[in-house]
Amino acid sequence: MKFVNITKDNFNNYLYSGIFLIFISILDVFLNSFFSINATSFLPEFLSFVLPLIIGFIGLYFIRVEHSGIKNLDIINKNINTNNFNAILTLLIIFVIIKSLPPFLSWFIIDANIAGDSKEACTGTGACWTYIKIWLRRFIYGMYPNAEQWRINLSFISLTALGLVGFFATEKYKKYLTLYYVVIYPFISFLFIYFFISGGRIFFDFSYGIIAAAISIILGFFIPNKFKLYYFLIVPITFYILLKYVFFFEEYIELGMIEGLVWVETGAWGGLSLTFIISFFCLIFCFPIGMALALGRRSDFPLIRYICIGFIEFWRGVPLITVLFMSSVMFPMFLPQDVYVDKLVRCIIAISLFEAAYVAEVIRGGLQALPRGQYDAAKSLGMGYWKMHIFVILPQALKLVIPGIANTFLALVKDTPLIFVVGLLEIVGMLNLAKTNPEWLGFAMEGYVFAAIIFWIICYAMSKYSYNLEIKYKTER
């Protein structure tokens, strides 16, 4: 049954009147929403309410012409205007968006305040961005002393710089840079943020060790393969001894001739920088551990296999919050009296092990997806277990599980706020702290929106990166 008969001749008339009706209906909702003008107030209330829907529906009905020959019209008809039901859904969605924009915008921008530096500056009904502005430093650095924050800045700036260098480097150096990026650099910068040639005897030794290792590894790239073994046997220790007994940093500092960096205990770390630090370390730790567990779970040796299964099932079976709690409260009880493992370090280890169990299962999925022929082929070429896995099996399996790994890593980043149970306050923890400040009560909303935006940016960047990796390693036609 057809109410209107649209033919080639009167097609244009229907098209223009249809577009006009849709325009009228959207305009009505728009005026109503943004300027509170009810153009159809003369009608009964209910009719006035649904009128735009009816008009828009008729308009969409008029323009629904098959194979009109107009490209854009065909796209619209094919995707959002296939039948009466879809037409109504389309209109409803458009109207809901138009209706919800004004309150959203007014809270976010129009009625929001950002000027001033106290609660009194926030007079509008919208968001109080002043709160974020005033607390921004705390949200980013936590309780880290203001005078020392350049250390965090420098660490992250050099991390970015290193990343950029790696991005533009040739394939040959990329390998070394990546190695440096994930194996050496994080520890140096951790040390740099924590203490550096300061804080007592054991810290000195530790600093020297790291410096010696870093310098010798960097120099090691330029040593020919033949001498590498001897080089790494001799040079790092030499550096260490030189630093400890020849340069006398300790005595200089004790005499006040040079200054070491102030020791900032990890309890004072916090905010966004702590989110990054924890996420970064957990990512680089949990990946190799997870890989080892995945391989172990498929091992031929029953002992290794059952240890791995037990480990994975244990960590998958307990909630992260309990794990963190145990790491901070129970774990120190098992340690000897004079051994002290830092709270943050314990946290990082706990989260890494927890996530490693998940990563292991994801990677195992990839390993199982590989056909047996790949193992056969690698074996028949004379490769042993490790060569086969490193060159043939793992590259393919990891490529398959990039989406799953990205998933786990995103979950990891979003799990970091849980470290509040051990008293470490990363960005969400700092927000919670700030919102209970007597001078700034009642701004929870702004804080959480801010945190949500930050987390979204981090996670979106990560997921984009994972898509890029997928495309990069795609070798099918």
Binding site: D376, A377, K379, S380, L381, G382, G384, V392, Q396, K399
Partner: protein, 244 residues
């Protein structure tokens, strides 16, 4: 005696309850080409997979180039490196280019310098006539090209023995010839080959001996001409009448 590169004595193998290999005895001399044929499920593939220990046999002895294969074999990788294998499903490494497929094992197993390995790989790819595809990935090649690449990959390890496990069964008819040509060239160059195949034309052209297997046993073993001219057992006659 010393000329026998593979010796298989009284080998039995079970998959669970099912006995796949029954009392297999086989000696292969250097530079001989042997074709193994028989109906599917007769244990041909299992037999040649036992030769480089992709499958383990439960009873009997398999001696390859003077080394006995058993659970205690420490240097199984070394033996495998000397035995090249070509599979029905090609089994190229899809994440590596054709050239990298060929150089991977020489570089990491034989510790060959990269440059030499690449030269060697190009030489072998040239022989199987896909040198121009060296930088493509396996997914971009046709089945026949992939199988020829698999042959080149095995040859890059410079093996003493080549095993072919139904190399043409997964190919379109017009691609079979290009793979067989590559194999014929290889045979003429004097390689020791054991080929499981249904291509009787290939058997007639290059094989020194033909082995017919059925139900896990070697039913008949004869010189090629003899095998096709007057097969002895009825089972062989039946098989040949069906396949030719």
């Amino acid at each position: 005696m010393s000329n026998q590169i593979i010796q298989i004595r009284d080998v039995n193998k079970w998959f669970g309850e099912f006995q796949v290999l029954k009392n297999i005895n086989l000696e292969v001399e250097k530079n001989k080409k042997i074709v193994v044929c028989g109906p599917s499920g007769s244990g041909k593939s299992t037999l040649i997979r036992c030769i480089n220990r992709l499958e383990e046999h439960q009873e009997g002895q398999i001696i390859v180039d003077g080394n006995e294969l058993s659970e205690n074999t420490k240097n199984i990788e070394k033996i495998r490196a000397e035995v090249g294998m070509v599979f029905q499903q090609f089994n190229l490494f899809p994440h590596l280019s054709i050239l990298d497929n060929c150089t991977l094992a020489p570089i990491w197993v034989k510790q060959m310098p990269k440059k030499d390995a690449e030269d060697l790989a190009m030489q072998h790819l040239e022989k199987v006539q896909i040198a121009d595809q060296a930088l493509k990935y396996p997914g971009q090649l046709s089945g026949g090209q992939q199988q020829r690449c698999a042959i080149a990959r095995a040859l890059c390890m410079e093996p003493k023995i080549m095993l072919f496990d139904e190399p043409t069964s997964a190919l379109d008819p017009e691609m079979i010839k290009e793979v067989l040509d590559a194999m014929v060239n290889l045979a003429k160059a004097g390689m020791t080959m054991i080929v499981v195949t249904h291509e009787m034309g290939f058997a007639k052209e290059v094989a020194d001996e033909v082995i017919f297997m059925d139900e896990g046993m070697i039913v008949e073993r004869a010189e090629t001409k003899e095998f096709f001219a007057n097969p002895k057992s009825d089972r062989t006659k039946l098989f040949l009448s069906q396949i030719l």
